[in-house]
Amino acid sequence: MADLTIRTERTDGPDGQAVVSVGGDLDYDSHGRLEEAVDAALDGGRRPAGLVVDLAEVTYCDSCGLRVLLGAQARAHDVGATFVLRGAHGQPARALKLTGLDQVFG
């Protein structure tokens, strides 16, 4: 069991991106923190043109984690930002494929 780590980086400018890099276990206990990080990244003050969630370091993602990702995409679209999910491999990639979300996040 690996603790969830979240790191947010931003690039400035009109095509500014907020990249939220996630690591560890994204599950029932920790998913709320990613939700908060996504909210913060899409914060009105410095609204980015795009939100990227990078799962490269995620070791486990359960249905709560998937729910946050689905919510993040909806949130990004609500504020007119693009949404990109990248880096998933291992169990998180299998979970995305099993639920068909790999096609949704394309």
């Binding site: 689905l70 169990q91 979300l101």
Partner: protein, 568 residues
């Protein structure tokens, strides 16, 4: 009495030029004639004694403090024993003492210390008992009173802290009630009875004379009509009130015990409990007699009652929540599997280790309906745990039960369920709430085989364990149910020969993590052949056991298994 030592009784009278001399400066007179003006100007009592213990001089402050002191006389052992002993060098320590002395205005606390000899010869002071000695006396009665007040306040605070600790986190109504009365005795009262009404029940707890574990009992709330004074006191609000002796009789009627405190004064203190419970503490004994609102003991009593109320409220809420959890658990408990002709069912369910023990996994099986005798089944998983998961999985099950009456083909039923769940979420402005599941039906055929129709949404595909031990994965996939409007779902048909078993499982099986690694699909597939030919219940039990062993005590998600078999 030596006239030279006659000392003016009023401080104002002793104002002489000598007063301007610093007290450390040598006085002009020999020690036996220590200027009354000098020492009388001091707030501190000053007593000069010679080696025989005869008082040579005493100032006004000293005589005020020790009215029996006589200049020219030996310090009266009987009247002022401590000073007498100190003068003779027998006191506690070498140069100081503290004593309680009789005084016309009541006991005084006197603190004395030996000082330098006042006289023409400066210190060093003589050894105790040798030569003259000078004692400075101070009335410390006020300090003592303040210290006593402080100590009493500390004692009350310590009692409350201890009571708080003892009551905190008990979270069990009966045990909390017992503690409330046990802690009140003896500090607050000689006897205590707690009566509380919650729902339609009355619970009482009472200390017994001679100590021991407080007694506790329950009775119907309707019994309160027999004890109108208790009932009225229960409905009261606010601070403690003295009550008439009839209340004691009523308490005896209610509890079947002797009246509390056997004739001692009683007072009833309504306990402020938020919401769910009416409670009342009746205290007996002399300690309960005070009625001064500013009395710190009164304050202590109300603080104690407030703590008792908070503990009872917490316990009542906790029990209510636990009851809610149990009711939910019951409604969501693994359903009974039907006995169906031509199909055998088996299942296992192990909820995650959570307080409410309500997990996100669920399964349902409904026996044969319709001319084709199809039995319908469903196994799924909603995101989350606890109440939230319980509500969502309840919604999924109810929707499935209703929709399958209208549409029995799995591949058509699943999109309907998807829409129903999405609509339910949309009307509540909730975030995404979805489920993953496998659903289908089983139709036993005349040749002993069982035809399965399956559809999946976002769920691990079922496995088929053939009678010969080979394992196949059913090639079917689909998207989350209730998460996406445009979701697509796959369907498959499977024919089970005699002894073949189809296994539906939740991701808690393959995602069980022991020492690092996931249990995984491959391990699942290699575990299954050993179960070939076993009844489906045994297959599920064996798998559950294997997963638990794999977990090796680690936390896990829910595990749900459903096996469908064509009888061999």
């Amino acid at each position: 009495m030596d006239g030279r030592h006659g000392v003016p009784t009023r401080v104002a009278d002793v104002r002489t030029p000598a007063d301007d001399t610093p007290s450390t400066a040598p006085a002009p007179a020999p020690p036996t004639t220590v200027g009354p003006g000098l020492i009388d100007g001091l707030d501190e009592g000053v007593v000069v004694c010679d080696r025989a213990g005869v008082v040579r001089a005493a100032n006004a402050a000293a005589r005020a403090l020790l009215p029996d002191l006589r200049v020219g006389e030996v310090v009266d052992v009987a009247r002022c024993e401590v000073l007498a002993r100190a003068v003779r060098g027998e006191g506690q320590g070498t140069g100081s003492f503290e004593a309680v002395v009789d005084h016309p205005e009541g006991e005084r606390h006197v603190r004395g210390r030996r000082g330098p000899v006042l006289g023409p010869t400066p210190p060093p002071p003589p050894e105790p008992g040798e030569g003259d000695s000078t004692w400075f006396l101070r009335d410390v009665t006020g300090e003592h009173a303040r210290t006593d007040t402080l100590l009493a306040a500390q004692e009350r605070a310590a009692f409350l802290a201890e009571a708080g600790r003892a009551l905190h986190g008990v979270l069990h109504l009966d045990r909390t009630a017992r503690r409330v009365v046990a802690l009140a005795v003896p500090r607050l009262a000689t006897g205590a009875v707690l009566v509380m009404r919650h729902d339609d029940q009355v619970t009482w707890a009472a200390t017994e004379l001679g100590g021991g574990r407080p007694r506790l009992g329950h009775t119907a709330a309707s019994e309160l009509t027999r004890v109108p004074r208790v009932a009225a006191a229960l409905a009261d609000e606010g601070g403690g009130v003295d009550v008439d002796p009839w209340l004691a009789e009523e308490l005896a009627t209610l509890t079947g015990l002797d009246a509390p405190g056997s004739g001692a004064p009683l007072r009833a203190c309504p306990v402020p409990v938020t919401g769910v419970v009416d409670a009342l503490v009746v205290l007996a004994g002399p300690r309960a007699a005070g009625d001064d609102a500013t009395d710190p003991e009164e304050d202590l009593l109300s603080s104690y009652v407030a703590r008792a109320g908070a503990a009872l409220a917490a316990a009542a809420l906790h029990e209510e929540q636990a009851h809610l959890g149990a009711v939910l658990q019951e409604s969501l408990a693994a359903p009974r599997l039907p006995e169906t002709e031509g199909v055998v069912w088996g299942a296992a369910y192990r909820p995650a280790r959570e307080t409410l023990r309500v997990g996100g996994d669920f399964y349902e099986v409904v026996g044969p309906r319709g001319p084709e005798g199809r039995s319908a089944f469903l196994l799924g998983d909603v995101c989350g745990k606890g109440i939230e998961a319980a509500v969502l999985s309840g919604r999924v099950r109810q929707s499935w039960h209703a929709l399958r009456l209208l549409e029995d083909r799995p591949a058509r039923l699943l999109p309907l369920l998807n829409t129903a769940l999405l609509d339910a979420v949309a009307t509540r402005d909730e975030g995404p709430r979805f489920a993953t599941m496998v659903l289908g039906d089983a139709r036993p055929q005349e040749d002993g085989t069982v035809a399965l129709r399956l559809a999946t949404g976002g769920h691990p595909p079922p496995l088929v364990l053939r009678a010969d031990g080979s394992v196949e994965t059913v090639p079917v996939a689909g998207m989350l149910v209730g998460g996406l409007r445009e979701a697509r779902f796959g369907e498959a048909e499977v024919l089970l020969g005699p002894g073949d078993t189809c296994l539906l499982y939740s991701d808690g099986v393959v995602e069980a993590r022991g020492a690092g690694d996931f249990f995984g699909e491959e391990r699942l597939a290699t575990t299954l052949p050993a179960c070939a030919g076993a009844p489906p219940a045994v297959v599920c039990e064996h798998l559950e056991q294997t997963v638990v062993e794999w977990l090796d005590g680690h936390d896990h998600d829910d595990v749900a298994l459903l096996a469908i078999q064509a009888p061999a």
